[in-house]
Amino acid sequence: MSALDGLNDRIADFDAAGARILAVSPDSQAENRMVAQKLGLDFPILSDAQLELTQALGLVHEGGGVPPDFKDIPRPAVFILRDGTIRWRALTDNWRIRVRPDALLAELRRVDGV
């Protein structure tokens, strides 16, 4: 959750870079609404409850959910897309460690420079 929080704190910088942020979670619309309101998010959270997109991009972490359910969830991942194609991706090897907004903004500038 703190990952979304961190992005939202820098939303003005993402706006300035002309970038749009979309978050994807395995939760329902109602749960996403609760999170978005709690954090006061300025970008959408899409509900991928069937893991349709998560599966299509090869991001399923089988049994990665919390006990006792151990549901399948997406692994933490961040992509930058430009003109329809994936230009950059960050797949952490430790789920506690996420891309920092500064690093993401630097990549956005780099992608746009190409």
Binding site: L4, A17, R20, P26, S47, L57, I73, V78, R87, R96
Partner: protein
């Protein structure tokens, strides 16, 4: 003699170690998720919480050593403090530096240069978002996957 020491100022100071150590251990464990995850450096490294837990461990050992000659109940309290501090330090180390590396291999993940599938997902206000179209621009799109609320 040993019972009397408990009532002297020095004895009370020793008793202080018996409860402050497990308290620091519990605070050091819980405050990682409850508070310090907000700072990327502390979240990524866990160093501050590890430091608190090791401090608690050290204090609890000191507490047990000082409690030892001062009666059975103080020994039990000291041992309990060491147990709690050790347990929480072990759990924290296991979670942060072992368990959280438990992600699947990245071989199957979509590669650079590929496009998003024609999938439409709903945002929390019900509005549909066509992923392939969203990735066409005008500007760059940042797509963030996260585990959801738990």
């Amino acid at each position: 003699m040993s019972e009397q020491l408990g009532e002297t100022p020095a004895g009370r100071q020793h008793d202080f170690l018996l409860w402050i150590a497990p308290l620091i251990a519990i605070a050091g464990f819980l405050s990682y998720w409850g508070y310090f995850v907000r700072w990327p450096f502390l979240r990524d490294t866990g160093l501050l919480n590890l430091g608190l837990l090791l401090l608690a461990l050290g204090l609890s050992v000191l507490g047990l050593r000082r409690a030892w000659p001062r009666g059975l109940w103080r020994r039990v309290a000291g041992a309990l403090g060491v147990l709690i501090s050790t347990l929480l330090t072990g759990l924290f180390v296991a979670y942060c530096y072992v368990l959280s590396y438990g992600l699947p291999p990245t071989d199957g993940v979509v590669a650079l240069g590929e496009r998003l599938p024609e999938i439409t997902l709903a945002s929390y206000d019900g509005s549909p978002v066509d992923l392939a179209r969203a990735s066409e621009g005008p500007g760059p799109l940042v797509l963030v996957f996260f585990r959801g609320f738990w």
